[in-house]
Structures are given as structure tokens and as C-alpha cells.
């Protein structure tokens, strides 16, 4: 079989310890924290106030403008307050709707299979997705209805369902593909329908044989669908790299996948679309991988959005005493947390707890120009030169001569660096300074 791949990349230890652990539904915690921003774009506008009774699935905040997403109550109960609460991505506190669960877990409108949902029109699909508050569940959390409504002059012919899951430790997408392959494909079917695309590629890394098997078993029922096994290499699941690997097309610098007629959606997003369009179920829960050597009950859990990391850990058997690092997401691109108070949000693909064994800290040494970073950069950049220019505060040159804004911050350069240089940190700083300069 042909295995698709891209130039560059790395082979970190994958540590997919939870591949064979079935998805387990986690109980609803006492209190849930729903930040008004869980997506790229404008924060949602609250529709409830302190003391309001809410039901499970009830919209509690609406999208503010086009690039924004609605938020729904993950369970029934009472709005305790709207207060600033630690946020797992912003790394600062941000207003969140706090819901006190009443334990009844009553639906506002119980999801029921809609008649003839397979024949939904593109408008109906996009509307259902917007109403359900779906965002990209791979981590970037871009509102999905926007991606499903490309401008007319940018028709999309190829839909790619991203099941690469190239981040070490994470297995949520893998498990979903193993357990619910048909539902994911139905979601892809709806995406294809919304865009009037002709092809759907399901991309899975070759280290997930079970998922590949399950998908190939049900694939034949779907017209225009193709399973594409991609090489296990990080960052295989990065949008631009995946498009290049599967179609040979290159997203132009500064452009979007739709510029080359492609749309990439994560496996779990596809599943959410199926549930929203087919059943009217809003996005109130997601599968998240809990892993790391500091975790006692590692596994793949179906968690209500708004559940604090602390609750997730407590409900799964706790953590070891010597945890020194908590990560929202994967170890390559995830965000280190300062507290377990942060809630699981729509984009939380993983919760990792590391002891010193994994969470090593290093001091930067002089760059010895070994160029390992150049060899692995999947974008064809020169990370060592970017860092040089950023350190010298020559941000504009870093952008114009060395493509600072092309960096996808995958961290491959920093991973391989023998001098332990924090390329990503420098590059993030450089981008920020560039924005500040305007």
C-alpha cells in the first residue's frame, strides 16, 4: 500500500498507552465552568443570568457575529454565577458561566433521529452545525459552520477527515474511529454534501491498525470515499502537510485549504456534525485522552464540556504525588497549565499529567548550527535563522526573509535541538511583536 507523507517531520516516542482503552463516559461533576470563549473568533454572548434554571443542551450563550460559536448547558441545573475562571488556552482567567448541576441531567430537547436527515440541504447542515456550537475539535477550535460555508469563488472538491492524530499520547480520535466508524463517515458524508465536494479522504496514520481495519470495513457503503493510510510521522496531521501528502496540492503561503479546494476536519468534529444534523444534539461533551505517567486512571473519556481537570483526575482514580506538569492537549503543541481548576473545553483533545521523568526542563545552550531543525521543519523554514533574527529583534526581516508567519509552531525543531533551544517560544514571541508593530 502507498503510504502518504510530507517532507521533514520527526519521530517522537508515541506512547499511545490508551489505544486499547474503550471510551468511558465520565460522571457529571457538581459544578461546571463554561468559558465564553472556547473557539477562534469573538466570545459568545451569555443568554442566561445568575439563578436561571437550565436544562441539558439548552443554549446558554449565543454566537456573537459570524466567526463565533454558541455554548450549551452540559447538564441540567442552575446558573450559579458568571465569573472569571482559569482558562486552559488563554492562560489567564476569563469569564465563564458556572453551572451547579442538579443531578437530574434532564434534556432541554432530547436528541432524536431527524427524518430524512441524509437528504439535508447544505443550508440545513450549516444551520444545524451552527446551532450545535460545533468548532474544530482537533484543538484549533475554529467555528465549523464558517469552514462549511466557503465563498463561491473557492469551491471545495476534496474533504479530508483528519484521523492522523500524530500527537504522542493522544488516542481519542483513534478510539472514536475504532468504536464509531460509521458515524464518523456519516459526518463526513454530511460535510461532503454541505460543500458539494466530490471526494472524501479518511486519513489515518499507519500506527492505528485497528482504526484502519474498522474504517475499511464500513467504507464501501460511501460513494466517493477513500481511506488514505499515512505514514506515522509528526506532524502528519497538520493541515497543510496532510493536504500536501494526500493531494499533492500546496496551500499558498498565508492562504487557507480552501484556496486549493480542500477542507480538513478532525474525526471528532465529523462525529459531532453527524450528531448535530442527524439528531439535533448540541456539542456538550467530547472524548478526551487522559494520560501521562502521573495519571492513575489513564484512558479515553467522554467528558462534559466544563468539567474541571481536577474533577477529571479525581473521578478517574487520581494522580501521583510527583506530578510536575499538566498539559491541555498533546505534548508537542499542548499548553502547560498552572492549575487543575481549568475546565475541559471544546478543543481539549487531551489532558496529560507528567512527572519529572517526562517533564524535563533544560537550559538553552549556544546553537551549534547542526541544522537538525532545518532537516525536520515541515514548512521548509530555517528555525535557527528565525531564532537568530528574533533574538536580535529583527522581526520584520524574520518575516520577510525567513517566513516567520509561515511557522505552524509544531515544535519539531525544538524537539530535535541538541542545544535545547526553545524555538517555538521565540517564534511565538516574534509573531506577537510583529502583531504589535502592526
Amino acid at each position: 500500500m502507498v503510504k502518504y507523507t510530507f517532507r521533514g517531520g520527526i519521530h517522537p516516542p508515541y506512547n499511545k498507552w490508551t489505544t486499547s482503552k474503550p471510551i468511558v463516559r465520565l460522571e457529571v461533576p457538581q459544578t461546571l465552568y463554561l468559558p465564553l470563549i472556547q473557539h477562534t473568533g469573538k466570545p459568545a454572548k451569555p443568554l442566561v443570568k445568575r439563578g436561571d434554571e437550565v436544562k441539558k443542551g439548552q443554549k446558554i450563550a449565543e454566537a456573537d457575529g459570524y466567526i463565533s460559536a454558541a455554548i450549551h448547558a452540559p447538564t441540567s441545573g442552575k446558573v450559579k454565577t458568571i465569573i472569571e475562571h482559569p482558562h486552559p488556552v488563554l492562560l489567564t482567567s476569563y469569564p465563564a458561566i458556572v453551572i451547579e448541576a442538579d443531578g437530574k441531567d434532564e434534556w432541554f430537547e432530547e436528541p432524536k433521529e431527524r427524518p430524512n436527515w441524509q437528504e439535508s440541504s447544505p443550508e440545513e447542515i450549516v444551520n444545524a452545525v451552527r446551532e450545535a456550537g460545533i468548532v474544530g475539535l482537533g484543538g484549533a477550535a475554529f467555528p465549523t459552520h464558517v469552514k462549511l460555508s466557503p465563498p463561491k469563488e473557492k469551491p471545495i472538491d476534496t474533504v479530508i477527515i483528519n484521523g492522523a492524530e500524530c500527537e504522542p499520547f493522544l488516542t481519542a480520535d483513534d478510539r472514536i474511529l475504532q468504536e464509531r466508524p460509521t458515524d464518523v463517515l456519516w459526518g463526513a458524508f454530511l460535510i461532503k454534501r454541505a460543500l458539494n465536494a466530490s471526494k472524501v479522504y479518511i486519513a489515518i496514520e499507519d500506527n492505528k491498525p485497528e482504526a484502519i481495519k474498522k474504517v475499511s470495513e464500513v467504507l464501501k457503503d460511501f460513494e466517493g470515499f477513500e481511506l488514505k493510510v499515512v505514514k506515522t510521522k509528526y506532524p502528519e496531521g497538520a493541515e497543510k502537510q496532510l493536504i500536501k501528502a494526500l493531494t499533492g496540492r500546496e496551500v499558498p503561503r498565508g492562504g487557507l485549504p480552501m484556496d486549493v479546494g480542500c477542507l480538513v476536519q478532525n474525526v471528532q468534529t465529523s462525529l459531532a456534525i453527524y450528531e448535530a444534523v442527524g439528531f439535533g444534539k448540541p456539542l456538550i461533551e467530547r472524548v478526551t485522552t487522559l494520560s501521562g505517567d502521573g495519571v492513575k486512571g489513564s484512558g479515553n473519556y467522554l467528558i462534559r464540556i466544563g468539567t474541571r481537570f481536577q474533577d477529571v483526575v479525581d473521578m478517574t482514580g487520581g494522580m501521583t504525588e510527583d506530578v510536575v506538569k499538566v498539559i491541555n492537549g498533546g505534548p508537542m503543541m499542548g499548553i502547560a497549565q498552572y492549575t487543575l481548576e481549568v475546565p475541559v473545553i471544546k478543543g481539549t483533545s487531551g489532558i496529560l499529567l507528567f512527572t519529572k521523568k517526562y517533564a524535563k526542563t533544560f537550559v538553552e545552550y549556544n546553537c551549534i548550527r547542526c541544522s537538525k531543525c532545518v532537516d525536520v521543519c515541515p514548512m521548509g523554514l530555517l528555525p535557527l535563522m528565525l531564532v537568530d533574527y528574533i533574538k536580535a529583534k529583527r522581526f520584520v526581516e524574520a518575516k520577510e526573509k525567513y517566513g516567520l508567519l509561515d511557522c505552524i509552531e509544531c515544535g519539531s525543531c525544538a524537539f530535535v535541538c541538541p542545544s535545547r533551544i526553545n524555538h517555538v517560544q521565540w517564534i511565538k514571541y516574534g509573531k506577537q511583536e510583529l502583531r504589535r508593530l502592526g
Binding site: 549556544n366 532545518v374 530535535v416
Partner: protein, 318 residues
């Protein structure tokens, strides 16, 4: 609220086990092969030269780090040891110890620390050390001794390159390959250098493009001259095996700090350096051109880096 505190740092949160120290000390380890050749052919004295030269390099580095207010422990990262040993390997087998020590110290102080220490130097420090010794002690630096397997009375004192250049005597390939010829302590055996170099390539510390393009370029330009006049100019194989080309190709031009950072750049770099070797060997007053060829391309490195930038994904080039 949980009382625990956690480490906050930017992604990625996992790293390789590789470190500068490991890279450098592994390179030192790979030098065992050429060093063993030096001992086999010239006895234990060259080992003493290597030792003194390496110690001198480390001490010079420590003093400079101290004066520059840097972490003195850096002197043990292995890079100074490499410079010291490499310099010793390029010197004649019976080289005066104090001169070797001086050369190593000069290399570290002037070619490395004055530029800002590890990673900042423009020129290969070991070669600057050798160039300095050649200028300061021209006689000692060109006085060769026979290997243990050549009868002293048959010894003319000339290296294979000099023998050809000045007397048109061609040394047998077998001797050139295995190393039973006169020359610098560590440069005589192509085989042993090849072993050390291959280990570095397999380990990923050396890009094969550098030695390959350099050697092939020497063979190509040397070959052209040979075809023009086979009586006057040596053949390509002789060019490859004689003199310091092998040591230069696997241990000097491949220096991470002073060589280009892109695959394409490395090929261009090797080709230019190879051309210079042939030019110097055949048309200058020196029999050997490896050292100067590398020092000259060292100056071209920033320009080549700019010239050979890889294409950014999605970039359309005019």
C-alpha cells in the same frame, strides 16, 4: 483550589535525549579510528601530541570563558577537545609538543572565543590553528617522518602529494588507502578515516552530502586536468587518497558550526571547496590545498546559506 504548583513552559513539552555534549563527545569517540592509525604507523608519540593539544585547547577555552564572564564548565562540552585532537591529527607525527599546545590555544582563543565561543566562529578552529603553526614554524610543520614500516634509508621525506608534485613519483594506491605513507599523523589512512566518518554519518552528526560533494568535486576537477595531461597531473583516485582530503572531507568541512545549514547549500559548498583543492594542489606553491580550501569556503558560508534557502511550503518562486 489545589495547592500544587506546576511547571509552565512553552511547547513542545518533550525533547530528544540529544545534547551538544553528546554530539561532541561522540565525535571525539569517532576520532579513535584515525588516532589509532596515527599510533599504528608512527608509534605512541602522536598520541602524546593529541593529548597535549587537547589539554591546551580546553585550558585556553576555560581561561577565555572566565575572562568573558561565561560559564567555565562549557570548556568540557567536548568541542575544544575535538579542536585539539583534530589539530594534532593534521600535524607531522614528530611535532614538538609545545608548538602543538600553542597552536591549539591559538585556535581556541583567536578562531573560536574571540568570535563569541561555541557556535559563533566563522572559521574551522583546528584549521586556523594549523595555518598559524604553518606560518609560525614552517620547517617543523613540513618535516615528515617515515612510518614504522618504511625503512628509514629508503625514506625521501616527501609526502605522496609532494613526491608527485616535485618529483613525479606516484605512491601505490594500496599504501595510500591503508595509510603506510608519510604525512600528517592522522591523515595517512583513508580507510580508518572512512570508518570514523561513516559512524558519524550513520549517527546523523554528519550530512553525507558534504564529504561526498567535496570528494567528488576534487575527483571531477582533478580528473579534467588529468585528462588534459596525464603526465603532468595525477589521476582522480590519487587526488582522493593522498594528502589530507579524507580527513578534511569527513572531519573538517563537516564541522557543523562553519558549514552551510541546508542540503543544497552543502552540495554547493563541497563543490567549491573541491575545486579549490585542485586549484591549490596543482597551481600553487603548496603541495596540499585541503586546509586553505576549507578556510576559504568558510568565508562563503553565510552567502551560500542565503543562496540555498529551501522552498517554503506553498511558496511560489519566480
Amino acid at each position: 483550589m489545589s495547592e500544587k504548583t506546576f511547571i509552565l513552559s512553552a511547547s513542545p513539552h518533550i525533547r530528544t535525549d540529544e545534547s551538544v555534549k553528546k554530539v561532541m563527545w561522540f565525535t571525539v569517540f569517532s576520532l579513535i579510528f584515525p588516532a589509532a592509525g596515527a599510533v599504528y604507523f608512527f608509534g605512541f608519540y602522536p598520541l602524546l601530541v593529541m593529548f597535549v593539544s587537547a589539554i591546551s585547547a580546553v585550558v585556553a577555552e576555560a581561561i577565555m570563558l572566565k575572562l568573558r564572564g561565561r560559564d567555565v564548565k562549557q570548556c568540557l562540552d567536548g568541542s575544544a577537545v575535538i579542536t585539539g585532537i583534530l589539530l594534532a591529527l593534521t600535524l607531522p607525527p614528530k611535532y614538538p609538543l609545545w608548538e602543538a599546545a600553542l597552536g591549539a590555544a591559538f585556535a581556541i582563543v583567536f578562531a573560536k572565543q574571540f568570535f563569541g565561543g561555541i557556535g559563533q566562529n566563522i572559521f574551522n578552529p583546528a584549521l586556523i590553528g594549523r595555518a598559524f603553526l604553518m606560518a609560525a614554524f614552517p620547517v617543523d610543520t613540513t618535516t615528515w617522518t617515515p612510518t614504522r614500516f618504511i625503512k628509514p634509508d629508503a625514506f625521501t621525506g616527501a609526502t605522496p602529494l609532494a613526491a608527485f608534485k616535485f618529483s613525479k613519483i606516484l605512491t601505490p594506491y594500496k599504501d595510500l588507502f591503508f595509510g603506510n605513507v608519510s604525512g600528517s599523523a592522522g591523515e595517512t589512512s583513508a580507510l580508518l578515516i572512512l570508518i570514523g566518518g561513516l559512524i558519524l554519518i550513520l549517527k546523523g552528526y554528519v550530512d553525507y552530502r558534504l564529504p561526498l560533494s567535496y570528494i567528488l568535486s576534487v575527483a571531477f576537477f582533478g580528473g579534467i586536468m588529468w585528462l588534459i595531461n596525464p603526465h603532468k597531473y595525477p589521476d582522480p583516485l590519487f587526488h582522493i587518497l593522498a594528502g589530507g582530503l579524507m580527513l578534511g572531507a569527513f572531519y573538517m568541512i563537516t564541522d557543523m558550526v562553519t558549514s552551510p545549514i541546508t542540503p543544497r547549500g552543502r552540495i554547493i559548498y563541497g563543490i567549491i571547496a573541491g575545486f579549490l583543492v585542485v586549484l591549490i594542489r596543482l597551481f600553487s606553491g603548496y603541495p596540499e590545498g585541503v586546509m586553505f580550501s576549507i578556510l576559504i569556503v568558510n568565508t562563503l558560508r553565510p552567502w551560500i546559506d542565503r543562496l540555498a534557502k529551501p522552498r517554503i511550503l506553498g511558496e511560489v518562486r519566480k
